[in-house]
């Protein structure tokens, strides 16, 4: 009999024999980093993204499960929130969906969330759907206003939003006073990176 | 150019709308001998879509319901100026539909063959021929390289205002009353029969009433209690400053949303997509302007230094399958012509002719038999673009 399709069971039951081949990760932008003056652009490659959808009809149960698991409330629309231990950053994505961002510690990031939440919520690994770019520095707003329709001067810590830049879907998260995390679909990551780099080059002598 | 008469009490035919409607009145008088006709225009002559478009004429249609009609229109264009003795500057310098992929080529080939089978003209060009004809297109650095084009040499442009004026002058001389600044406020319908209209200049009686009001179709027909398979959308059009001649004809960019020609005065006349939302504002917003210019720069990067001089917004009667309706209604004596989407200008002569035919004979013209109201109910849509009941995508 072939085994249950569920990935969690696959892992928990282990495997008897493994193939002789190895797969190596190769994200498109891996290792690219760059300074623009004092502004730093870094490709984040170790952070997992897991989506959690909230089951219809059990919103309240989910909310309390969530709070029990992570020591914080669900993020408000347009906002992000850290878990109490600050290991997880949750982004509000839609009325019934949030993203959990955390340091990846295994092959199955969805399991990390599943272990915390139990069977409440529908979970999908989104890590490979997105490229993640972290920007830090004082001139980010000046550069990003060339491509970002959001008002980044009024985008305080704890805000996040999905929008469109240069025809590309993107998610912005204010991570620190001088720092933003940006997500954009991984297949077009190269175009996204070029758009950001060009914005710096157009706005300063870097 | 034309008289400015007060409306009479009764006409054989009243036509509402002086765009296609003016053409209809002209052919009614000239071809069908019905001269006791009034054309009612809410604004000034040419204030509707006839005077707000990118002036392109072509008959490069795909579907059997459409192609013979548009080819009929093309032939009328070709004899138009001699017909009404007014120079509308019909300029058949060709229309080039660029394609960028094999599936697009296949679709254009199917279309080109439809055109040839219908007696129109079509040529499939490869990249080398296009390079000779249009050396200024982006071949080296294009995101979507040009693979070829469907060319209709007889396509081209016409001076749009002159079309209005020419038909008006012609109709006026045949006895048609052109009544400007006369808005229809209601229909006189008794026992399922339309006997006339109410207007801002008082009631006017008629044996038959034809409605041909483009983007205002839903509004006007609502006065007769009808709901239409139609939405009104804004389409922006653009013209650049005058430039020395630099384009050979009409060029359309298949991987973006951009079509362009150059007027006799030297302006680049161009356009793209609808703004995309229902609107009666007759003006659009900036994102569409940018989108159109992006398409323009992507395909012909020499136009970066040409300046956009004016833009305007027309009210498009976007139908549910992207094709028009020329048909009688369930109300006796009330006829409708609309749903031209943003292809109405090129149709002006045939639309007028077929409307005149319908008004005069109560039967559809043989090139316009598919343009029926009941085609949606029966599943006989004429959907050139294949996007379904989504008017803003046609």
């Amino acid at each position: 009999m072939w085994k249950s399709a569920h990935p969690i069971f696959m892992i928990l039951t282990g495997v008897d024999s493994v193939a002789d081949y190895k797969l190596e990760p190769f994200p498109f932008l891996w290792g690219r980093e760059r300074y623009f003056g004092n502004n730093y652009l870094d490709i984040v490659s170790t952070q997992a993204i897991v989506s959690i959808a909230i089951p219809r009809g059990s919103e309240k149960d989910f909310s309390s499960e969530f709070t029990n698991a992570f020591g914080t409330y669900l993020p408000e629309p347009g906002h992000s929130v850290f878990s109490k231990n600050r290991e997880f950053l949750f982004l509000w994505m839609s009325p019934d969906q949030i993203f959990a961002l955390f340091e990846r510690d295994g092959l199955y990031p969805e399991l990390t969330v599943r272990e915390k939440l139990g069977d409440t919520g529908y979970i999908t690994d989104q890590t490979d759907n997105w490229c993640q770019i972290r920007l830090t520095g004082q001139d980010i707003v000046q550069a990003m206003e060339r491509i970002c329709p959001l008002d980044l001067n009024q985008f305080p810590l704890g805000k996040c939003a999905r929008t469109v830049m240069e025809h590309l879907s993107s998610v912005l998260v204010r991570e620190s006073d001088e720092g933003f995390l940006l997500l954009s679909p991984s297949s077009s990551a190269q175009s996204f990176l070029e758009a950001i780099e060009q914005s710096f080059l157009n706005t300063g002598d870097y | 150019m034309w008289r400015d008469p007060e409306p009479q009490q009764h006409y054989d035919v009243i036509i509402i709308g002086a765009g296609h409607g003016m053409a209809a009145a002209y052919y009614l008088a000239k071809v069908y001998g019905i001269r006791k006709v009034a054309v009612l225009e809410k604004g000034w002559l040419g204030s509707g879509n006839t005077g707000r478009n990118t002036t392109i004429i072509r008959s490069n249609y795909l579907l059997p319901g459409n192609e013979p009609f548009y080819e009929f229109s093309m032939k009328l264009w070709e004899g138009l100026e001699q017909d009404f003795n007014f120079n509308a500057m019909v300029s058949q310098r060709g229309i080039l539909n660029l394609f960028h992929s094999d599936p697009q080529r296949d679709a254009f080939a199917r279309r080109g063959n439809s055109m040839l089978l219908a007696g129109a003209d079509a040529v499939l060009l490869d990249e080398n021929l296009i390079r000779k004809m249009c050396p200024f297109l982006d071949y080296e650095n294009a995101r979507f390289p040009v693979k070829g084009a469907l060319w209709q040499p007889r396509g081209g442009t016409v001076r749009h205002d002159a079309v209005v004026w020419g038909y008006a002058r012609g109709a006026d001389r045949l006895g048609v009353d052109i009544i400007q600044n006369c808005e229809v406020t209601g229909f006189d319908i008794q026992d399922g029969v339309c006997r006339g209209v109410e207007t801002t200049k008082g009631p006017i009686k008629a044996n038959n009433v034809g409605v041909s009001v483009a983007g205002s179709s839903s509004k006007v027909m609502a006065q007769a209690g009808m709901r239409l398979p139609m939405e009104s959308h804004v389409l922006q059009a653009f013209v650049s400053e005058g430039l020395k001649p630099c384009l050979p004809g009409v060029i359309t960019f298949g991987a973006g949303h951009f079509y362009v020609s150059q007027s006799d005065k030297g302006g680049l006349v161009f356009g793209g997509d609808l703004d995309g939302y229902n609107s009666y504002a007759q003006r659009g917003n900036l994102p569409t302007v940018e989108d159109v210019c992006e398409g323009g720069m992507a395909i012909m990067p020499m136009i970066g230094k040409a300046r956009l001089l004016r833009m305007w917004g027309g009210l498009m009667d976007m139908s549910m399958d992207g094709s028009p309706i020329i048909d009688k209604t369930h109300i006796s004596g009330l006829y409708f012509n609309g749903g031209w989407c943003y292809g109405g200008f090129k149709a002006t002569p045939a639309s007028g002719y077929c409307m005149a035919h319908l008004l005069a004979t109560d039967e559809p013209h043989h090139t316009a038999t598919a343009f029926r109201f009941d085609r949606f109910n029966k599943g006989l849509m004429i959907d050139e673009k294949g996007v379904g009941a989504q008017p803003n995508l046609h």
Partner: protein, 93 residues
């Protein structure tokens, strides 16, 4: 244009995709004896007013909510914005 999203506040219309008349929520019941006629009218016949229009917009480059926007088609003034799901639920869907 700017659409004042009920959850997220004002956002550029460029983030949205337009569908059309909000009556598209009110999909007929297949089991109705007149279903054929109702589906035809539902899909093809639209109010197309010059003035107040309730219409569907999708926040595709945002939170993926479908919204019911009440907008004046003559002036483009937006009078009200609701989550379409709430509207649909209130209609008993």
């Amino acid at each position: 244009m700017i659409i004042d999203h009920p959850l997220l506040g004002p956002r550029d219309a460029a983030e949205f995709v337009y569908l059309g008349d909000a009556s598209l929520i009110d999909r007929p019941d297949l089991n109705n004896p007149e279903a054929g006629k109702e589906f035809f009218e539902y899909l093809y016949l639209r109010d197309n007013p010059e003035g107040i229009h309730r219409e569907l917009w999708y926040h595709e480059q945002g939170d993926r909510s479908w919204l019911v926007v009440t907008r004046n088609t003559l002036t483009h003034e937006i009078l009200n914005v609701e989550l379409a799901r709430q509207v649909a639920l209130a209609m008993g869907r």
